[in-house]
């Protein structure tokens, strides 16, 4: 039964992947998609370019972004013992946004001048911003014992960074504001292979590192006192969990914009689907579910209008909010809450 559910998840992924490759501004038949993926030259050069230079990097980016944000959310939910923790709620995404805003708006770069150095600066800015918020949260987690209060601190810090961003916007050029607003809507498209390479190198490394924390994560389910009594070094574990979720959030935010709800909701979907809180199965399942949700968002962003790609952040709340409301309403019936 448990393996069956994993199999369902694993078959959903390639189906969604193919749907994303086939449908869009131009519909391309599955046979041609397969040929292009197999490395053959297509008869239609336009399809060739669309598939290999645009859709494939976009699709892979969506999978990776979904996985990284979801795993970041899971790590945060276990670290804070709070089912409503997530990268956007704790202010980590907004910290990364502030970093990106400083780079985009102060350095005055525009979407038309996308050099490699510029992207390195954006990634660096996002990392610095996310880590700054993480340090603030870590400091407060030493002082504020209650996790609910810590969430509120995260939300307040998020407001602070928003006001910083508003100020930067106010004093920036029109061009800078425009490119920042576009980035802020969130997007998996517009990925080039070289940028995807950097994203994948950092994102996959962070995902692999998170697998190393499965054992202490399970002990942390019982709360810090029990975990400590079973030999877990709480301070070190908590710090590495927070640094790792910061890294996962920062790298994705830098490349795709601040994407809401995926990090909060996907761990819940994975728990409900697999019926477990055991991170040994939950963590890989969360990454896979995150990839599937990333693909679903991509599909929904290209299907309605065909000519234009809808911003991802217009779609994630539509998927996310009904699930959060269901979780809140049904929490007495959900095993992992009790």
């Amino acid at each position: 039964m448990k393996t069956l559910r994993f199999v369902i998840l694993l078959t959903a992924l390639p189906l969604l992947f193919f749907a994303c490759m086939m449908w869009g501004s131009v519909d391309i038949p599955a046979s041609e998609v397969l040929r292009a993926l197999a490395g053959q030259q297509l008869d239609n050069p336009v399809w060739q370019v669309i598939l290999i230079e645009s859709r494939l990097p976009m699709t892979l980016c969506a999978m990776l972004a979904g996985a990284t944000l979801s795993v970041a959310g899971l790590l945060l939910q276990t670290t804070f013992n709070n089912p409503l923790a997530g990268p956007s709620i704790l202010g980590i995404s907004s910290g990364a946004s502030l970093g990106v805003a400083i780079v985009m708006l102060l350095l005055g770069a525009s979407v038309t001048t996308l050099g490699f150095g510029y992207y390195a600066a954006v990634v660096g800015g996002a990392m610095a911003g996310a880590m700054l918020i993480m340090v603030v949260l870590l400091l407060f987690s030493g002082i504020v014992r209650s996790t609910a209060m810590l969430l509120i601190v995260g939300i307040l810090v998020g407001y602070l960074t928003s006001s910083g961003i508003a100020l930067l916007n106010f004093f920036s050029t029109q061009e800078g504001v425009h490119s920042f607003v576009i980035w802020g809507m969130g997007s998996f498209s517009g990925m080039t292979w070289s940028r995807l390479g950097i994203f994948a190198a950092i994102g996959l490394t962070a995902l692999l590192l998170s697998l190393l924390l499965i054992k202490p994560l399970n002990a942390m389910l019982l709360g810090s006192r029990y975990a400590e009594s079973m030999g877990v070094n709480i301070r070190r574990t908590r710090n590495s969990l927070m640094l790792l979720s910061g890294l996962l959030t920062a790298v994705t935010t830098a490349f795709c914009g601040p994407i809401g709800f995926i990090g909060l909701v996907v761990p819940h979907i994975a728990r409900m689907f697999l019926h477990t809180s055991n991170h040994r199965r939950l963590l890989p399942a969360t990454a896979l579910t995150g990839s599937a949700v990333g693909l679903l968002c991509t599909l929904l962003s290209v299907l309605p209008s065909r000519a234009e790609v809808i911003p991802v952040n217009a779609i994630t709340p539509i998927i996310g909010i009904p699930i959060i409301i269901y979780i809140i309403v049904a929490r007495k019936r959900l095993h992992y809450f009790n």
């Binding site: 399970n218 389910l221 019982l222 029990y226 400590e228 009594s229 079973m230 809450f337």
Partner: protein, 253 residues
């Protein structure tokens, strides 16, 4: 050698001393009850014994080794705990939760060996929860859940188990059942079990020894029969003079 010896132990927070110069010993195969009104320092003492907070003075010797010098892993192989902390373990099965007790013994990825699985099974049998091992923890009553937490402590195979008011949220039947279970485990598995509780009526017939924290924050330790024979000793537990101990009924009234 006794599993746990306290010598001139002083504990508290930072510069605030809560308990001073405690001398006491936990014995193998015995259930020891720590009694005292709220605010007398029961939890502080238990946390100090578990190594969660450093002692302000004196020594805690565990199997002849000072507690302060033990690594977290070694400590986790020596003392296990049960308290009433809220746990987010509802989505684990009874078996998975119990298996968490093997944490200080398993490798980097926490994979269980055959021997680990046998220990987990035996721990569940010892608390009478073996037939529910595939059930989710969320579906259990509070009393059963506490039994699984105890099974987890047994699976940790520590010579010492410390329980901080484990029956606080349980109904009357589960309280009696849990306390009896503790006595049986202490004797059968030769564990040293230290339990703090307010259920004085239930624990007195079961505990081999008592550690009393009086309302004036002094510490008295001794065999249950000896201490309860003297109402003068038992009456120091509470500051209210109207609450008296009846040595015949073994109860406060």
């Amino acid at each position: 050698m006794e599993p746990l010896t306290l010598h001139k132990l002083t504990c508290g927070y930072h510069s605030t001393v809560i308990l001073r110069d405690i001398d006491a010993t936990l014995h193998r195969g015995e259930l020891t009850a720590l009694l005292g009104a709220n605010g007398t320092g029961k939890s502080t003492l238990l946390r100090t014994i578990c190594g969660v907070q450093p002692a302000l003075g004196g020594t805690i010797m565990v199997n002849g080794e000072p507690l302060g010098s033990m690594s977290p892993r070694k400590l986790a192989r020596t003392i296990s705990i049960v308290n009433t902390d809220h746990t987010g373990a509802g989505g684990l099965t009874v078996e998975e939760l119990t298996a968490l007790g093997r944490h200080p013994f398993t490798g980097f990825f926490g994979r269980l060996t055959h021997a680990d699985r046998r220990i987990v099974r035996e721990a569940l049998e010892a608390v009478g929860m073996a037939d529910r091992r595939t059930q989710f923890v969320a579906t259990l009553s509070d009393g059963m859940r506490q039994k699984v937490m105890l099974a987890r402590a047994l699976a940790q195979t520590t010579p010492i188990i410390v329980l901080d008011e484990p029956t606080a949220f349980l109904d009357a039947a589960s309280r009696v059942e849990t306390m009896r279970l503790l006595r049986r485990l202490a004797v059968e598995q030769q564990k040293s079990i230290l339990v703090s509780t307010h259920d004085i009526g239930q624990i007195l017939p079961l505990a081999h020894r008592l550690w009393l924290l009086t309302h004036s924050r002094s510490f008295i330790a001794g065999e249950t029969a000896r201490l309860t024979a003297d109402p003068g000793v038992m009456n120091t537990l509470f500051s209210n003079r109207d609450i008296k101990f009846d040595p015949v009924r073994q109860e406060f009234f």
